[in-house]
Symmetry: C2
Subunit: 352 residues, 2 copies
């Protein structure tokens, strides 16, 4: 599939409603692997990186799940197209910045992504809507087995899989869930949640914005430890903690409906009113308001909109997506205007 | 007419579009007069005040314009009803606070109001939509003549009409216009305008809010000097200055449409979006947003709303009006909620 066809197609995790998707935007499992016979990417020559890439892409072809996958070499992609993939959570900013010898493989449903020659030779992820960590792991585990047969991964009997950065050594696994905690934030319980998660040695970070600042009430919870625990243990812990956070969020929303309904309806109403009438709107404001609107839809405060439409707007209002849709580069002010145009027309269309 | 019928009827200056009413909400002329044979209200006994009131009300009956007027004794009005009259600019807060011996006479069209035993025995005003200071003066001048024949006003050949407060002595006239300066404020030219007006010894004050703070971009310009100038000179000066301010405002709006259209459309759109979707809204925010929406209607940015509907909402969203409409006393939080309900239902009705 060429890039334009791929990017204009619907992405599975955006258009679907997995379990608990009111609270869990998406689940993701990724593992880091390296070919035993080559230096890590940061030590490899250009020729070595090309050979690594060729070997991985050849191996990929024989994997049944990836039969109809798309393969994009990073150097072949325009800057804007790399950013599009970043905004869809399909590749990392690090991969997008690579010059040559790097590529990305994406399966036909946008669930499995393999980054080639990012920090490690292979970073493969499965991304699904809702709370489906085990399902993600099953996909990745099978893919890992299929590729390992052909490629031979760097593995130490003592440490496990070897990776470019020691924080990934062992299982090489990063399990994460993107949570929508609008109720917890609204009722000012977020600090408690963050502290509880930190005590379990899990990492929490905002999805947008820098550092601990969060836009749109979106948080990613993930494991920090990859060594000394099995994949099942790591996934089990994440799953348990995410379920606890989900319960906290569910209860926060229930309480808000009981004791703070006026303010909740007000915030949701204003979010809808501004999103469907503003002419100039920053990415930050749009994300914050879309978050409030999403909670409004989930709580049936807003009944003429679908969650999927809002999920999609989170992505379509990002800078690269806006520029792609307009067919040209846009400065920040023009983006804010086009973002307003997009939101107004989409929300009017959706609610009619 | 009883009070309930009167207050539920439409008020002329709200429902009409006088000249320049894009920029001039209303014109007003009031004069202060006192009966020659009685002490000023602050020195009069209760019995004297009653007699003053009786004489004035008797005289009023013979004035053709006031044949179908309403007469309300302040002591007979509930607190909420006094506040309603204040919110409609028909009586002053001072009159609303009077205990006994005070009354208000309002003609059938809500144009002429006579306050009895406020600071002076008589304060009569004419209030019209748009820039119609001369027309207001003609109404008041005729009324003044008709009442003077019967009542005999305190008058000094040297000073002119005598009043309780020296600032009104002479003509006893206060000429004012309520201006909607949303464009001047938006383009940050308001300080220049205020300074220019102050140099002409005219007073400018915000309509809502205390002191120099203005809500809703509404300002009242009025004369300060009542002595040593004829009524015609005072009205001529006011008219000239108001026309200059109107030009400044008109130009400010034109420039905004040329060079700041995106931001202007944005602010107007957001005002509409919030007003028609918020569930909790303070008086201050409502007035500010209604002001922006009014400018949007005047500039044809918003095309499915009438200026009169917005003018009416300025008044209907005030505390006493909200409580009257709900048939009960409401605390501040409940008022903010009822204000949201009113605005949502009205704006949805108007734009459908």
């Amino acid at each position: 599939m060429n890039f334009e066809d791929f990017i204009s197609g619907k992405q599975r995790w955006l258009g679907e409603n997995g379990p608990e998707s009111e609270f869990v935007f998406s689940s993701r499992v990724r593992v880091a692997r390296n070919l035993a016979d080559f230096p890590f990417p940061n030590k490899a020559t250009a020729a070595e990186k090309r050979e690594i890439m060729d070997r991985i892409l050849a191996a990929v072809k024989s994997v049944p799940r990836l039969r109809r996958c798309s393969v994009f070499r990073i150097e072949d992609l325009k800057e804007i197209d790399r950013q599009l993939l970043v905004e869809r959570y399909l590749i990392s900013r690090e991969l997008a910045a690579k010059k040559s010898g790097s590529a990305v493989v994406i399966d036909s449903r946008g669930v499995v992504t393999i980054m080639v020659n990012e920090e490690d030779h292979i970073r493969m992820q499965a991304l699904l809507s809702g709370l489906r960590l085990r399902e993600c792991w099953e996909i990745i585990s099978q893919l890992d087995d299929e590729l390992e047969c052909q490629l031979g991964f760097a593995f130490s009997p003592k440490y496990g899989y070897l990776t470019a950065c020691p924080t990934n050594v062992g299982t090489g696994i990063r399990v994460s869930a993107m949570l929508h905690l609008a109720g917890v934030i609204f009722s000012k319980q977020i600090e408690q949640v963050l502290q509880a998660v930190a005590r379990l040695h899990l990492a929490v970070r905002g999805i947008y914005g820098e550092g601990s600042e969060s836009f749109g009430n979106l948080f990613q919870v993930s494991n920090q430890v990859t060594l000394g625990k099995t994949e099942e243990e790591i996934i089990g812990l994440l799953e348990k903690v995410v379920r606890q956070i989900v319960e906290t969020e569910r209860n926060a929303r229930k309480s808000l409906l009981k004791t703070g309904a006026d303010l909740l309806y007000d915030r949701v109403g204003r979010a809808y009113g501004i999103l469907s009438n503003a002419h100039v709107i920053t990415s930050r404001e749009a994300i914050d308001l879309l978050s409030m609107l999403r909670m409004g839809v989930d709580l049936r405060i807003v009944t003429n909109l679908e969650r999927e439409a809002i999920n999609e707007l989170f992505v379509l209002t990002q800078p690269a997506h806006l520029q792609k849709a307009n067919g040209k580069e846009l400065d920040a002010v023009s983006r804010d205007i086009e973002r307003g145009n997009l939101l107004r027309s989409r929300l009017i269309k959706e609610t009619q």
